[in-house]
């Protein structure tokens, strides 16, 4: 079939790692009853503000809030995240508040645009450091998988280390935005192009 590799990279590869929650099945069904699963309306509005800081409205296009990425996160975290990932995500909301309190003595919502941007830029750097460290662990896991597969035993279960909570928020913001109507519009998406031209001078998707 055509473009299989492309299909994978389009759907799964985001910021150099797989989309969190869209990975191969990770078993790990612990007691889910005590954990939060569904984002509340307040948390949705909160995440829309966080999302808008990551992808704000510009002269060129709408931002993450217009795409309601908070609501998208609600669906994704409830349906597609593992128990483990969800735990990281929800405790991350508290972590984010703590980081804001520490830096500005106030919660994220009370911060002005500049403070918000500075705070999240710092968290982004922290998340990237965290990923670098985890990449080494993942590499070891990949090698283990290879040995296991070479021995002829079916083994497709892929254990992954959950990402940093801010990486989750950022990935969901990007995915939620660029796959929304506003996001598609920002990329000049034409629903029914009608033809293909492999060399044009102006970009329209």
């Amino acid at each position: 079939m055509m473009n299989r590799r492309e299909a994978i990279s389009r759907v799964a590869i985001l910021l150099g790692s797989t989309v969190i929650g869209a990975e191969l099945f990770v078993s790990g069904c612990t007691n889910a009853h005590t954990e939060q699963i569904v984002l509340s309306d307040t948390q949705i509005s909160y995440l829309n503000e966080v999302g808008e800081t990551i992808l704000p409205k510009t002269a060129a296009s709408d931002g993450a809030k217009a795409a309601n990425v908070g609501l998208f996160m609600k669906t994704m975290v409830a349906d597609c995240y593992s128990v483990e990932e969800r735990k990281v995500f929800f405790s991350g909301l508290t972590e984010l508040e703590k980081a804001s309190e520490k830096a500005y003595d106030k919660g994220f919502i009370s911060c002005n645009a500049e403070e918000r941007k500075k705070l999240l830029t710092g968290l982004d750097a922290e998340a990237k450091e965290y990923r670098k460290k985890n990449d080494l662990l993942q590499q070891k896991e990949a090698e283990r998988q290879k040995t296991s597969q070479a021995s002829g035993k079916p083994n497709y279960l892929k254990k992954t280390v959950p990402a940093h909570y801010f990486a989750m928020i950022k990935q969901l913001t990007l995915l939620g935005y660029f796959t929304s109507e506003a996001g598609y519009k920002s990329m000049g998406y034409v629903q029914v192009p009608g033809r293909y031209d492999g060399d044009v001078t102006h970009h329209r998707a």
């Binding site: 079939m1 055509m2 473009n3 299989r4 590799r5 492309e6 299909a7 994978i8 389009r10 759907v11 590869i13 985001l14 910021l15 150099g16 989309v19 929650g21 869209a22 191969l24 099945f25 990551i54 704000p56 409205k57 510009t58 060129a60 296009s61 931002g63 998208f72 994704m76 349906d79 597609c80 999240l120 982004d124 597969q149 002829g152 079916p154 497709y156 950022k170 990007l174 939620g176 935005y177 660029f178 796959t179 929304s180 109507e181 996001g183 598609y184 920002s186 990329m187 034409v190 029914v192 192009p193 009608g194 033809r195 293909y196 031209d197 492999g198 060399d199 044009v200 970009h203 998707a205």
Partner: protein, 559 residues
């Protein structure tokens, strides 16, 4: 009994089953098409294909629940929200992996014809003669000249777009205008042609998407959402193409939810009398009768039906007298290739989304090219610009970051190899005596693997891909090989092979089961070798050819 009697029964409704139904009804036969899964109506049942992409709640991702219920589908790219309902329920229909085997099934009307990759290539005599020349397995009982007119016939009806490239090893056909290469691909094609002195070619992918309208169908709209279901009928599927034609004859009856449990074999006439089915919803058993039966249940399930038929005569089932039923299973091995970045085309953009890319036909072991393995491989690939899911140096969050991601990024190019797998007698499937499916029916056990020849070939596939990209001036080249479990190519073949001798093959040169001449198998099961090109077009041609033969034999009173 009269109401359960037809002229012909077609088991399966995928690419080959759809063709069998169209041909047999077109020749005036009252035909019953049996589908084991649900009905899946053109346009009406396409859940996402008619909606904008942002209306999919998970935007393509699958849920945890789906991941747990469909572990095999989640071994790769097939797991997408838009098509999850189309894949077979793995809990209801399990199979046993003696060795790793990835089986992507679609039990619904049209089978995998709505989901397929649509790449359509002719075989050549390099393929048909390979077994005989190498003394490997058994010889094909047919040659290119036997199938060439049938390729013409099915291409005209299905609508295949492509360029006439004049390659003896990848014969040209009856093509609609090709889907264009983009500027980077054209540049790479030119460089390869020059460097390899016309011994290697980068050509337009030949694909079952319409570049011009044909009766009843609109041309491809370049949305690149084929498998979600195309409301334009822009690509070939049972739903868009063969089924409406069969229905229009007034000779077709379709019965979904019908699991064929066995072919009813008559010892006295040495022919099939009909089939027995289990209604998947009511668990009731029914029998249907016909003069001829086309078995098109997909390679593995067609073998399964045969294994469960006439077991009072042959312990291993109908067609097992040769000892080859269920053996010689093949696929195309892939999951490997190379990619890199391309510089110098920053001012060039793309409009529209193609349903295909480029193809690099086989060059290994052809003409003067000699290798330390036998047979060959081809590549499918494309050049494109990075989309939003990329990193941008120096930018992490904010307006500039968003605006930059909204624009296309660097050009890159990638290609995936598809290699031929030899038929090995000990690569096989069999019935698992211990396990049953939801309906209490025996399930299949898969025992097949890549062997030395394929492993050697894989080394060449990645290194040649890197070499070609290098020659073409591509930068940051990387190769990958993620390994290949049998079946993952979704090109299962060979479990009831054709041959010239009933002692070593299950089917004769007309796809008739040697042991029951009114039973025809024309899906992937019939293949005697695998070539390295996508097989569906060949199934179409073999099916149309066998239908023509079957009806003429019927008229002569021979079957």
């Amino acid at each position: 009994m009269a109401e359960n009697t037809y002229d012909a029964i077609v088991i399966g409704s995928g690419i080959s089953g759809g063709w069998a139904a169209k041909e047999l009804t077109g020749k005036g036969l009252k035909t019953l098409m049996l589908e084991r899964g649900r009905n899946y109506e053109h346009i009406k049942d396409y859940k996402y294909g008619t909606k904008p992409p942002w209306e999919a709640p998970h935007r393509g991702s699958t849920t945890k629940e789906q991941q747990e219920k469909y572990p095999v589908i989640h071994r790769g790219w097939a797991a997408n929200e838009a098509v999850m309902d189309c894949w077979t329920n793995e809990q209801e229909s399990p199979y046993t992996e003696i060795k790793p085997f990835t089986w992507w099934r679609s039990y619904q009307l049209g089978g995998r014809s709505t989901l397929w990759g649509r790449q359509s290539y002719r075989w050549s005599d390099f393929d048909f003669e390979a077994n005989a020349k190498e003394g490997w397995a058994v010889d094909w009982p047919i040659r290119y000249k036997d199938i060439a007119p049938w390729y013409d016939y099915v291409e005209k009806f299905a609508g295949i777009s492509g360029n006439k490239d004049g390659l003896a090893h990848l014969p040209d056909g009856h093509f609609l205008p090709p889907v264009n290469l983009n500027i980077v691909e054209k540049d790479v094609a030119g460089r390869l042609k020059k460097y390899y002195k016309d011994q290697r070619h980068l050509i337009n992918g030949r694909v079952a998407n319409l570049t011009e309208a044909i009766p009843g169908r609109t041309q491809c709209q370049f949305r690149d959402r084929c498998w979600e279901g195309c409301p334009f009928g822009g690509y070939f599927s049972t739903q868009s193409s063969t089924l409406p034609a069969a229905v229009a004859t007034g000779n077709l009856t379709v019965r979904p939810w019908s699991i064929v449990t066995r072919i009813l074999y008559d010892k006295n006439t040495k022919k099939a009398a009909g089939v027995e089915i289990l209604d998947a919803q009511t668990n009731q058993t029914y029998a249907f009768y016909a003069k001829i039966i086309f078995l098109n249940a997909s390679a593995l399930n067609s073998a399964w039906v045969l294994m469960n038929s006439a077991t009072d005569v042959w312990k291993g089932g109908l067609g097992s007298s040769s000892g080859e039923l269920g053996h010689n299973i093949m696929d195309h091995h892939y999951n490997l290739g190379a990619s890199g970045t391309v510089e110098g085309f920053e001012e060039h953009f793309i409009y529209g989304r193609r349903p295909t890319g480029f193809y690099i036909p086989r060059f290994a072991n052809l003409y003067s090219d000699k290798r330390d393995f036998s047979r060959g491989f081809g590549y499918q690939g494309s050049a494109s610009r990075d989309a939003w899911s990329r990193e941008i140096a120096e930018l992490n969050i904010g307006g500039e970051f968003k605006d930059a991601l909204s624009q296309p990024g660097n050009w890159n190019i990638g290609m995936t190899g598809f290699g031929e797998i030899l038929p090995y007698h000990d690569n096989k499937i069999s019935l698992d005596a211990k396990r049953k499916d939801k309906w209490g029916l025996p399930i299949l056990a898969m025992d097949a693997e890549l062997k030395e020849n394929e492993k050697k070939m894989r080394t060449a596939i990645t290194s040649e891909a890197a070499n070609m990209l290098d020659v073409a001036g591509v930068k940051n080249i990387r190769t990958w090989d993620s390994g290949h479990a049998m079946g993952h190519g979704i090109h299962e073949m060979g479990t009831a092979r054709m041959g010239a001798d009933p002692k070593t093959s299950v089917l004769n040169q007309h796809n008739q089961v040697w042991d029951a001449l009114n039973v025809f198998v024309t899906d992937g099961a019939c293949m005697t070798s695998s070539s390295c090109v996508n097989p569906s077009l060949t199934y179409m041609a073999l099916t149309a050819r066998a239908c023509d033969f079957a009806v003429s034999e019927l008229k002569k009173g021979n079957i």
